[in-house]
């Protein structure tokens, strides 16, 4: 047990460290195949936060209260606490960019792309409260996400820059020892990092590191660089857990139809 902890700790310090007791494919690379999911509240906010009644709060007579549009949800609409997943606790925004984040948070119901079932972007896709599946073969690796049916094709040996910005960006992948490194470029400026309004510009570069530290745990790390928004690169870390048995089956969450009333309800015929 103590030995395993040391191995995991070493692995976290250096993604390239080779681990002997993890599943591997025919090519000797760590076998990441399976259905994976985080167990944290990062999608509510990457930075440390206390539990609260809602993401949409307004001033009340004795302090903030839930906004009228979410009151009916009661405890279901409440926010679980989170210790934070950002190294150093806070995202190093420029002062102007921090103001935009605060404005986004205030305007959450109207502005969070998740509310409209828009594609989550990277890295948010990883820590949405839904599983995702890694499909890894000897000549291709893709990731399918339950939320919104998001999809990424990891390009190995690609030398072409992203020709156009997109929601999920372009994922260029390579192995550094036993760590799968994915550099994601070509983001649009519309995705968010979480429900707290954390944001970026289209200059964002995300470097993800997936390190299988045991059969059932990937240590995930993502470093964000965006000179328009942040004063320096910053990093998030979290474990991702493998779902097993009957739970290891991705379901479908095509939420487009679930938001039609929200987005188009006011345009229905009077009789409809």
């Amino acid at each position: 047990m103590f030995k395993n902890s040391i191995v995991i700790a070493l692995c976290c310090l250096c993604g390239a460290t080779a681990l002997a007791d993890i599943p591997r494919g025919a090519d000797g690379k760590p076998n990441l195949n399976g259905v994976w999911q985080v167990l944290n509240s990062a999608n509510y906010g990457l930075e440390p936060h206390s539990a609260k009644a809602s993401m949409a709060m307004i001033p009340g007579p004795q302090g903030p209260i839930p906004a009228p549009s979410v009151v009916a949800l009661g405890a279901v609409g409440a926010v679980p606490a989170g210790l934070g997943v950002v190294e150093g606790s806070m995202i190093p925004y420029t002062p102007e960019a921090r103001q935009i984040q605060e404005k986004n948070q205030h305007n959450w119901l109207n502005a969070d792309p998740e509310i409209k079932c828009y594609l989550p972007g990277v890295p948010r896709a990883t820590y949405m409260p839904f599983p995702f599946q890694i499909h890894q073969s000897d000549n291709a690796t893709v990731i399918t996400y339950e939320y919104a049916g998001a999809f990424r094709n990891l390009l190995f040996n690609n030398t072409v820059e992203a020709p156009i910005d997109s929601w999920m960006g372009q994922s260029d992948a390579h192995w550094e020892g036993d760590t799968l490194v994915v550099v994601v470029t070509g983001h649009n400026n519309q995705s968010w990092f979480d429900r707290a309004g954390n944001h970026h510009s289209d200059a964002l570069i995300v470097t993800e590191r997936y390190t299988l530290v045991s059969e059932h745990v990937i240590e995930y790390q993502a470093t964000m660089e965006d000179k328009n928004v942040f004063t320096r690169p910053w990093t998030i870390r979290m474990p991702i857990y493998k779902r097993v048995g009957a739970d290891a089956q991705l379901q479908q969450f095509k939420c487009v139809e679930f938001v039609e009333q929200l987005m188009y309800g006011d345009l229905r015929a009077a009789s409809n």
């Binding site: 494919g25 025919a26 090519d27 195949n33 792309p113 079932c117 828009y118 594609l119 599946q133 890694i134 499909h135 890894q136 073969s137 000897d138 000549n139 291709a140 690796t141 893709v142 399918t144 049916g149 998001a150 999809f151 094709n153 390009l155 020709p163 156009i164 997109s166 929601w167 999920m168 519309q190 089956q249 991705l250 379901q251 479908q252 095509k254 487009v256 139809e257 039609e260 987005m263 188009y264 345009l267 229905r268 015929a269 009789s271 409809n272």
Partner: protein, 328 residues
């Protein structure tokens, strides 16, 4: 000089014999295999073609001559180019402004070639290349087309709602449409993933699995796979009732939520998969129907098709209908 020429011809002759020899000794093509030993179907494939699901009335046979095919391909190409034509007097407010320009379309330029035959329809059975509709199913499809209702988003086709691609591009069965006819297949232990370019729909086929409970009705249905020799066989059921109207330019059909679709993927060369399917839907059709197509290898990658995120048309359609009702 003469010596040089002789040497040159000698070299050419030797080279020719070497090439001929290697051709005669060439091993017959064998299916590539994955590390797991299964036939390798992986890559990016396209089914873009002039050929539609049903046989056009002008053809009596499944197999066309080169001459018939060339004429048909030219007619089809002319049709898609003609959509750019704007009347000299322009389009007036309130008139139909049409849809896409041809620039946005990629409908295929060739009739479908399968096993060396040029095909007039994807359908191979029934023999007449026509869907064996029961009256009720034909009527439902007809009603869907003529109602063209705009009271709410649910009445619009799935393609307009960005829920699924037009027609039956995601399937199953996966049929060609007028653009985005690409698919990516990735095989991992226990799964075959088929990405449909339209709406980035990934169909995850569980090998040797069991179907989900009947109350679960996913879009694209629930797919279970197995190998029969070197052929991947995929059985799909539990269709979502909302996916019954498969309406595209190249194919229009009705599929009840009780239908079963069986697909067969057989790789026959480095750059071709033969894709066969059988639709068994006794409530809607008097007999099962079967189709056959070629999936041809295509260069990648497939780019993101983020439809819903840019669906400015849906509010436009509904708002236009409301203005129309109020006489504005």
């Amino acid at each position: 000089m003469n010596r040089l020429i002789c040497t040159y011809f000698l070299r050419v002759a030797v080279l020719g014999i070497a090439i001929l020899g290697s051709a005669l000794q060439a091993e017959p093509w064998t299916v590539p295999r994955t590390a797991l030993g299964d036939p390798d179907l992986q890559g990016i494939w396209t089914n873009a073609t002039v050929t539609g699901l049903q046989r056009p009335r002008q053809f009596k046979q499944l197999v066309l001559t080169e001459q018939e095919a060339k004429r048909w391909e030219a007619e089809t190409s002319g049709f898609f180019e003609s959509i750019d034509d704007v009347p000299d007097e322009g389009v007036q407010a309130g008139e139909d402004v049409g849809g896409y320009n041809s620039f946005w379309l990629d409908p295929g330029t060739k009739a479908m070639r399968v096993n060396g035959e040029i095909r007039s329809s994807i359908l191979t059975s029934p023999e007449d290349g026509q869907l064996p509709f029961r009256l009720g199913a034909r009527f439902k499809l007809f009603q869907f087309f003529i109602q063209d209702a705009m009271d709410g988003p649910e009445q619009r086709p799935l393609g307009e709602r960005c829920l699924m691609g037009f027609g039956s591009t995601a399937g199953p069965p996966m049929l060609p449409v007028v653009y985005n006819n690409h698919y990516q297949i990735v095989q991992s232990p226990g799964h075959v993933m088929i990405l449909v370019e339209m709406i980035h729909d990934a169909r995850i086929v569980r090998m040797q699995g069991e179907h989900v409970d009947d109350v679960i009705r996913p879009w694209l249905g629930d797919s279970i796979g197995r190998w029969e020799g070197d052929t991947l066989v995929v059985e799909t059921k539990n269709f979502n009732p909302g996916q019954s109207f498969r309406a595209g330019i190249k194919s229009q059909y009705y599929l009840s939520s009780e239908a079963k679709v069986s697909e067969r993927f057989t790789r026959i060369s480095d750059d071709e998969i033969i894709y066969q399917f059988t639709v068994d839907d006794p409530g809607a059709y008097s007999e099962s129907w079967t189709g056959e197509m070629a999936l041809r290898q295509s260069e990648g990658p497939i780019y993101e098709y983020a439809c819903h995120e840019g669906n400015y048309a849906m509010p436009g359609i509904l708002k236009g209908a409301r203005l129309d009702e109020s006489g504005q």
